[in-house]
Structure formats: structure tokens, C-alpha cells
């Protein structure tokens, strides 16, 4: 109570003001690069102003008319949905099995999985394996190699282990098997952690490009991030579509690059504030119990 009643001293006021200003500056420096990109996509160039001076959507029209952006979008959505659903199911099932103390040779199976967090075959052996499995240029080359992460599995297992065993007792007496118990009793009380792992997976798939770059050579099968890389970073003109004449000054390559980046990032920016709290949950659980 004493601390609540204590009035703010002059020092407190000064501290809070400076701290508040610092925090606002920090937020500004986080957001400003995105704002700059937005203005650039509207045709503003070489400016530091906080308000756009020109407002042309020509660059966006050329992005919309770019069929590679569309096919990239479709491929990205496909891999995100399929990859996330499969990952969550596989991770959840394995985590539940390993959360049971009665599981035979539990230590061995857990160790087998945890070891993969620290050692891997490396780039070339993985690449050759994928080719010999016939996954080259296949949609599944973007799903299967990242199907289950040992880290996410551990976090989920820790969460399941924290659920009191009495919850399952009545179902067990009724003779339900483990699979039934998991779906009917464990899943409903674990929705927050399932959402967290699902969202991490979804963001990972949405942002992934390296697997697509090395395994998929057909441009029509490539994901948006890779198309974006080709356009924005490598400047490959084959992937860009321009409406009208670039030289007549209506818009610039910079504006097209900025607009493509905005289009690829917008879905994340739009969804992010609403699901933000779920992202954080997993870190907390992961940090509480290693």
C-alpha cells in the first residue's frame, strides 16, 4: 500500500518524461523505415518528410498486373496453410506421447529428437538427399524438411507435462484410448499453446524462401518471398512487369520495388496486432522450463 500512496517526486517526473520520450523515439525508429518504404511506393523519392508529397498508385497497378506476384501469393498461401496444419498435428501428437511418463524408452526417443537441435548433416548432404527422394521441384520440398521442430516439440511437451493428470482420469476409467483422450481432453485445454506454435509455424512458412530457392527452379512454383527477392534484391527484370513507360517519369523502378515489398508484407502487418499476444506466450513457457 505504501508504494501506491507514495506521491511522485520531482525526480520521478523528470525520469518518466525522459523515459517516455526515449520510448517514443524508439518506436519511431522502428516504424520509420516501413513508413519510408510506403511513401516510396507512392512515388516519393529522396525525401525525409513525414508526409507523402506525391500519391501515385501506378507502381501498385504494375504490381497487381505482375502474374509472378499472383502465382507467388498462391504458392505462399498454399505452403503456409498445408505446412502449418501438418506441422501442428505432427508436433502435437509427438509432444503428447513424450509427455507421458509411461512411454517406453522415453529418454531415448526424446534424446533422438533433441539431438537434431544441435547437429545436422549440413547443406549439401540435405540437398542431395532431397534430390534422391525425388522432391526436387516438388511442392513437398517446402513442407516436409521443416515438418517438425525439436524446439517447438519440447515447448509443447513441457506444456502438456504441466497439465494435472486427474483431468484424464475419468476418461481413462471410461476406457477411452490415448488418441481419444488427447483430442477430447488435452487439446481443448491447450489451445493457447497450440495457437502459439501454429502462428510461429505460419510466420516461418510465410517468410521462408531459401528452401524454395534451392529446391524449386520453376518460376511458377516459387513463393512470394523468392519472387520478391528476385525483383527487389537481385533486380531480375524477367520477374518485373511494367505498365507504361518507365522513362516517362510516371514511376520508377524504386517505386515498383517498394510497392512489391509493401504488398508482400501487408498481410503480416494487418494480422500481427491481433495475434501478437499468442506469439509471446510460447517464449514465456519456453523460458520458464528449459
Amino acid at each position: 500500500m505504501a508504494s501506491l500512496l507514495k506521491r511522485r517526486t520531482k525526480g520521478d517526473v523528470i525520469f518518466d518524461t525522459i523515459n517516455g520520450i526515449f520510448m517514443i523515439l524508439l518506436c519511431f525508429s522502428t516504424l520509420y523505415p516501413f513508413l519510408f518504404l510506403l511513401f516510396q511506393s507512392f512515388g516519393n523519392s529522396a525525401t525525409i518528410s513525414l508526409l507523402p508529397t506525391t500519391f501515385k498508385i501506378t507502381a501498385y497497378i504494375s504490381v497487381i498486373k505482375n502474374s509472378y506476384v499472383w502465382s507467388g501469393f498462391v504458392n505462399t498461401i498454399m505452403r503456409t496453410v498445408v505446412g502449418t496444419v501438418l506441422s501442428v498435428i505432427v508436433t502435437m501428437c509427438a509432444a503428447y506421447a513424450l509427455s507421458k511418463r509411461t512411454f517406453p524408452n522415453r529418454g531415448f526417443w526424446t534424446g533422438l529428437i533433441v539431438f537434431t537441435m544441435f547437429f545436422s548433416g549440413g547443406l549439401i548432404p540435405s540437398y542431395l538427399l532431397m534430390r534422391s527422394l525425388g522432391l526436387y521441384n516438388s511442392f513437398w520440398s517446402m513442407i516436409l524438411p521443416s515438418l517438425c521442430s525439436a524446439y517447438n516439440l519440447t515447448i509443447m511437451r513441457n506444456f502438456f507435462m504441466g497439465i494435472p493428470g486427474e483431468l484424464e482420469e475419468s476418461a481413462k476409467i471410461d476406457g477411452a484410448n490415448d488418441i481419444k483422450i488427447m483430442f477430447q481432453i488435452i487439446v481443448p485445454v491447450s489451445l493457447p499453446i497450440i495457437a502459439t506454435i501454429g502462428l510461429w509455424n505460419a510466420v516461418g512458412h510465410w517468410n521462408a524462401w531459401f528452401d524454395c530457392m534451392i529446391y524449386i527452379t520453376e518460376a511458377r512454383k516459387q513463393v512470394l518471398q523468392l519472387i520478391l527477392r528476385r525483383i527487389v534484391i537481385e533486380g531480375t527484370s524477367q520477374y518485373m512487369s511494367f505498365t507504361g513507360n518507365l522513362d516517362d517519369g510516371t514511376y520508377t523502378t524504386e517505386a515498383v520495388k517498394a510497392a512489391t515489398t509493401m504488398v508482400a508484407t501487408l498481410p503480416i502487418l494487418a494480422v500481427y496486432p491481433f495475434v501478437q499476444k499468442y506469439f509471446v506466450k510460447g517464449v514465456m513457457i519456453g523460458s520458464l522450463k528449459g
Binding site: F36, C93, F119, G122, P125, L128, L147, V203, E254, S287
Partner: protein, 318 residues
């Protein structure tokens, strides 16, 4: 007492042993079924590539395949260690990681401490939401973003420099600036997300400690310095140990999307080197050797880090 206990234990053990190996799995068949897909995945996609590591000790040829290619012992490693580019790349990896730890490690701690002092809940939540944002944006997007943001002709920083009568700086193409760009953009992207662990540890500090300090008339800074920070030390230690453990695991995505040939001498790291050597130059054996070199070092560092962490406060990651 002890004797009875140990006698009981052996009896339980004996009972357990009566259940046969396969019988035990049969009893848990539904759980086994649940674990099966994951185990198949790990065996194929994580353990499957591991035998391919023998390529590092062979002279791989496409015609012969991994198994029939001739063994050459440590010749690949001898060649690597004699190459000037390998030394340069290894040095870059260590230096960049070290800089990132020096600048990137304290940033989220300071941020968490200051954010904790913000009183208005809504303001605090807004700052958190904004600061986590860059963590969710890919390095492809950020690579494109920073290429334009740091552009010598149109980027805002250079616009300011030019208006002050200074020469524009080509941040991404200048060997004197490239590492600073890597470090600062990494800090920019990660400080918010990195603060979550520290905020969690701050929220678990007992309020009675602060009340006692209030009685003694302690100010804000003194409470931050004498209570909050010391209470965070265990978490800080763990995080520091593990960031040192990850020192050879470079941020491939970041560097690959920001670098160019002009800055290879300061920015090329093991990850990008392995990629170019293997998949662009098709030197499979040599690239696998670099990969193995890195994996062994990083494995040893993680094991070492975990040992240190366990010794310090009995809190390892497994």
C-alpha cells in the same frame, strides 16, 4: 527405512522387467502411433542427410555418387586451411558474431528495464507491440527495405548527409560500413523480441523487495540498479552463455540478403560461403567439409555452454 525402500525399488524394477520389451510398446500402442510420424520425419529428414557427411572425406564426383567416390582422407580440410578465403570467412564470422553480442546482447536488457518503468499500461502495450514487429518481417523484405533506406542517392540518411554538405555514404557497398550495418540492423530487428524473456523475469520479482526499498526511501534508479537488475542475473547469465554458444551460427538470411561482391572481404561468413561453394560453384566435397567444420565447432560450443549453465544455476536446456 532405506533398506525397505531399496528393496521395494528392486521389486518394482523386477515387476517392470517382467513386462517384455515389445509388450511394453504394445501396451502403449496408441501413444506409439502418435509419436510415429515425428520419428519417421526426424529419421528421414534430420538423420537421413548425416551419412552424407562422409563426402567431406571424399572427392565427390557426380558420376560415381556418394558411396563410390574415392576416399581422400583429410585432403579437403588441408586444402581449406591453406585457402586465404577460408581464413577470411572464418574471421568474419567470429568478428561479426562478437560485435552482434557486444551491441545486441545489452540492448534488450536495457529496453526491458526502461519499459518496466513505463507506468501507463496502454502506452506500454503499444510500445511492446511496435518493438516486436520487425521480428516477424523476413530478411528478404528487410534486405530490400534497407537497400532503399541506405541508398546513397535516395535514402533518407544520405539525404540528410547531403543537405548538411557531407558526402553520401554507400553503406552497403563500403567495406568500412558494412559490418556496422549488419550489427545495427540486427539489433533493430531483435531488441524488442529479445526483451520478452527479460520482461518475464522482471514480472516474477517479488513486490516485497520493492516495498522494502521504498521504506528505505530508494529512488527509481537505485531500485532498478539494486533490485531489478540483480534479480535478472540468472536469466542474463543463461542468455549470455547461449549467445556465446551460437557464435559460429551466423545469420545467413540477413547477410545473404544484404551483402554483395564489393563487401565479401568483410561480410562473407561461413553460411554464405558454404552456400556459394556448394550450390553455385558445385564443389560439393569442399562445401560439406566447411559445413562439418562449422557443425562440429557449434556442437562443441553448445555442449560447453550447457555445462557451464548447469554448473552456474542448475538450469540447462535439457
Amino acid at each position: 527405512m532405506n533398506k525397505i525402500n531399496s528393496a521395494e525399488k528392486t521389486r518394482i524394477k523386477a515387476q517392470k522387467k517382467k513386462v517384455g520389451f515389445f509388450q511394453n510398446y504394445w501396451r502403449n500402442r496408441y501413444l506409439v502411433l502418435l509419436l510415429l510420424p515425428a520419428v519417421v520425419y526426424f529419421l528421414i529428414f534430420c538423420y537421413g542427410p548425416m551419412p552424407g557427411i562422409i563426402m567431406a572425406f571424399k572427392n565427390y564426383s557426380f558420376r560415381l555418387g556418394i558411396l563410390k567416390s574415392p576416399w581422400i582422407g583429410f585432403a579437403n580440410f588441408k586444402l581449406l586451411f591453406s585457402m586465404k578465403s577460408f581464413g577470411e570467412v572464418f574471421g568474419n564470422t567470429l568478428i561479426i558474431s562478437l560485435y552482434k553480442i557486444l551491441a545486441g546482447f545489452p540492448a534488450p536488457i536495457i529496453f526491458a528495464l526502461l519499459l518496466n518503468e513505463v507506468r501507463q499500461e496502454r502506452f506500454k502495450k503499444t510500445i511492446q507491440t511496435i518493438s516486436y514487429l520487425p521480428h516477424f518481417v523476413s530478411w528478404v523484405v528487410l534486405g530490400g527495405l534497407f537497400m532503399q533506406f541506405l541508398s546513397p542517392s535516395t535514402g533518407p540518411i544520405n539525404v540528410v548527409l547531403k543537405s548538411l554538405g557531407l558526402d553520401p555514404v554507400f553503406f552497403l557497398g563500403d567495406v568500412n560500413w558494412f559490418r556496422s550495418v549488419l550489427v545495427s540492423t540486427a539489433v533493430w530487428k531483435g531488441f524488442g523480441w529479445g526483451s520478452i524473456v527479460y520482461l518475464a523475469s522482471i514480472s516474477s520479482i517479488s513486490p516485497t523487495l520493492y516495498e522494502a526499498a521504498d521504506m528505505d526511501g530508494a529512488g527509481r534508479f537505485s531500485k532498478m540498479w539494486n533490485i531489478t537488475l540483480p534479480e535478472m542475473i540468472p536469466v542474463i547469465t543463461i542468455m549470455l552463455i547461449f549467445s556465446v554458444g551460437g557464435i559460429v551460427g551466423d545469420d545467413f538470411d540477413q547477410i545473404f540478403n544484404l551483402y554483395n561482391e564489393a563487401v565479401y572481404s568483410v561480410g562473407d561468413v561461413l553460411g554464405t560461403y558454404i552456400y556459394r561453394m556448394g550450390l553455385i560453384d558445385m564443389k560439393y566435397s569442399l562445401s560439406t567439409a566447411v559445413g562439418l567444420f562449422r557443425n562440429v565447432i557449434s556442437f562443441a560450443l553448445v555442449i560447453f555452454a550447457n555445462m557451464v549453465a548447469k554448473r552456474i544455476n542448475e538450469y540447462g536446456i535439457w
